[in-house]
């Protein structure tokens, strides 16, 4: 029965200052409302424009659970279209990548559409004369998403007319994107290496929260990272530490390390870990890269860019990016208890290949369905998804380092073990969930 639809108070009651009700994670009705409101009123990441380099190039993906096509229009701009024919609803293309030329053609009855979605032609068009087709939904062609913004290559879309503008929504949180992009001597990224797709039988928000959960690595990842350290101990003296160990080892850093790392929160649910340093700080230098950066930016600026070692930056609702290792993770909601995690990697145009190689090693070791670190985390998520069905305690605790004065939509830097960023996300969740109810 409907317990939440249209009941703003009931939805608001799900999120308290320091506790969140389990229905937020396991209730299918709440999930449906999230798709309409949270994923409708916010700017959701769609893709990177290097995926659609040339006119007619398209990339098929989803916004929340809505199938869309990101396409390079003939005018060079990037459009986001709903992947649905206005005639009978047929998905126009099921392929992830392709080039459709000057127009899309529906495979069922060959209606065609310009790459901005507008209706181009219908076979036997005269069959619609004097039928009032102009007033029909069909006349609109493939519905285009009206609110699209391309930020230095990263394409976002907002499905509803409600919700803040792009700049208001992200504000200074875009600095993490800037740092990622500036790491290219020419300030340009390319999606490269392929995407890892990892299915999780749990709610999407568990993954988002985990991105700034700095109290779990030394416990949950002792099995993988801890073992890596132990095994490496037996390496012959003087052996060069491999990338893999460099990547694994910092997961076992002390509580103190994570406390000092710092967490920054921003309005609208964004925030990041690793303000002062991070698990990425001590990677060994890639020969020739720094030189290229100095060439491009001058020494001071180059040092500033590379000195930033932000760990995980979370963009509400479902994106996480890692500047220093050039990868992003998209947490795609499929159902209250099903989430597809896509981990995408980038080439820094103008930088040595070895950077991409390291990025791929990281992605493989940490984010693959075959990754031991992934196994550690997924086990926790799936156990939590199970455990939340316990009726005796229906609340999830997000209280660590809570301060009644912290308030909503603050900008602040604080102790790296705080759960403030989780609270920050849920305050944003409440706001966008109820904004258009």
């Amino acid at each position: 029965m409907a317990r939440y639809r249209g009941d703003v108070e009931a939805v608001k009651a799900l999120v308290r200052e320091t506790e969140v009700h389990r229905d937020v994670y396991i209730d299918e009705e709440v999930f449906a409302l999230e798709m309409e409101h949270v994923f409708g009123n916010t700017w959701v990441y769609v893709g990177h424009d290097s995926q659609v380099a040339d006119p007619g190039d398209y990339f098929g993906t989803t916004i929340g659970t809505q199938p869309v096509l990101m396409v390079r229009h003939s005018d060079g701009t990037v459009k986001v279209l709903h992947n649905r024919c206005p005639h009978k609803g047929t998905r126009i293309t099921t392929e992830t990548y392709g080039n459709t030329g000057k127009f899309f053609r529906c495979p069922y009855h060959a209606w065609s559409f310009k790459t901005d979605g507008s209706l181009l032609a219908i076979p036997l068009r005269e069959g619609y004369d004097n039928t009032g087709l102009e007033q029909s939904h069909a006349a609109r062609g493939m519905s285009a998403v009206r609110h699209v913004h391309n930020y230095r290559g990263f394409v976002f879309a907002k499905l509803n007319d409600t919700g803040p503008g792009f700049d208001e929504f992200f504000g200074e949180s875009l600095s993490s994107f800037d740092n990622l992009i500036d790491r290219s001597p020419v300030g340009k990224l390319e999606v490269a290496g392929g995407v890892l797709r990892y299915m999780h039988d749990c709610n999407w928000k568990m993954l988002v929260e985990n991105q700034t959960d700095t109290c779990h690595p030394m416990i949950a990842h002792a099995s993988s990272a801890g073992t890596a350290i132990d095994v490496w101990k037996n390496a012959p003296p003087g052996a060069k530490k491999p990338m893999a160990v460099e990547i694994f080892a910092p997961f076992m850093s002390s509580y103190e390390f994570f406390e000092k790392m710092g967490i920054k929160v921003w309005p609208n649910g964004h925030g990041y870990t690793g303000v002062h340093h991070s698990i990425h700080s001590d990677y060994s230098a890639i020969p020739g890269y720094f030189e290229k950066m100095v060439e491009a930016y001058g020494e001071e600026r180059a040092k500033a860019i590379l000195g930033e070692n932000r760990h995980n930056t979370v963009y509400f609702p479902n994106l996480m990016i890692k500047g220093p290792i050039q990868l992003i993770r998209v947490f795609k909601p499929l159902a209250a208890d099903k989430t597809l995690v896509e981990s995408w990697t980038f080439r820094l145009v103008g930088a040595p290949d070895v950077l991409l190689e390291r990025t791929l090693v990281y992605n493989r070791l940490i984010n693959a369905p075959t990754s031991v670190v992934g196994h550690d985390d997924l086990e926790m998520y799936e156990r939590a998804h199970e455990g939340l069905h316990v009726d005796a305690n229906q609340w999830v605790n997000i209280q660590r380092l809570y301060d009644p004065s912290e308030g909503p939509d603050a900008t602040a830097v604080t102790n790296g073990t705080t759960e403030w960023q989780m609270r920050n996300q849920f305050r944003a969740w409440s706001k966008f969930m109820t904004m258009s109810m």
Binding site: A192, G193, G194, V195, L196, R197, Y198, M199, H200, D201, A220, A222, S223, S224, G226, T227, A228, D230, V231, W232, A235, P242, A244, V245, F248, L340, T345, D353, L356, E357, L360, N363, R364, L365, A368, P369, T370, V372, G374, H375, D376, L378, E379, M380
Partner: protein
């Protein structure tokens, strides 16, 4: 052994997968040459392991970490433990190059991994590149191409 017979190669591959199913992971690890590699491509017909992502591309150190982890007392994703099962079509000899000390077999197989009441089944082709080292066969490269290598998978915790 200096010149393995075809049957030697076949027996080796069968034994290799059997050791996995019996959870005899140290013995299994010993089947790899010191520079041996276990490769599970992400891409259909993948050629480049370096600048293209793979599901696994692991040297003996990384494999050793997995094997140790599986034994670990705080390896919660293995509490309870997973089990697995290989079913092989008879391995086929693809190449015998005694001068180069290189022997390649091709083996269609099904791999079942199960834990608690869940069971997943994978269809794949294993390609073993073997060499005779110190009188015994060793794995230089085990490549496992899963038919739907680019599909969305849940945990794959043991070894195909």
């Amino acid at each position: 052994m200096t010149r393995p017979t075809d049957q030697d190669l076949i027996d080796f591959v069968i034994r290799e997968t059997r050791l996995i199913d019996q959870h005899r992971f140290e013995e299994w690890l010993d089947l790899f040459a010191d520079d041996g590699i276990y490769w599970m491509p992400l891409e259909w017909g993948q050629t480049d392991p370096r600048l293209t992502a793979s599901l696994m591309y692991e040297d003996k150190l990384l494999l050793k970490i997995r094997v140790e982890r599986l034994k670990g007392n705080r390896t919660f994703s293995q509490k309870p433990k997973s089990r697995c099962h290989h079913l092989l079509q008879t391995p086929q000899i693809e190449k015998r190059d005694e001068s180069a000390n290189q022997y390649v077999t091709w083996t269609p197989m099904h791999y079942v991994e199960t834990r608690l009441d869940r069971q997943d089944i994978f269809a794949a082709w294993a390609t073993h590149t073997l060499a005779v080292i110190d009188g015994g066969l060793k794995i230089k490269l085990k490549r496992v191409d899963v038919v739907n290598c680019d599909a969305a998978f849940g945990n794959i915790q043991l070894f195909m």
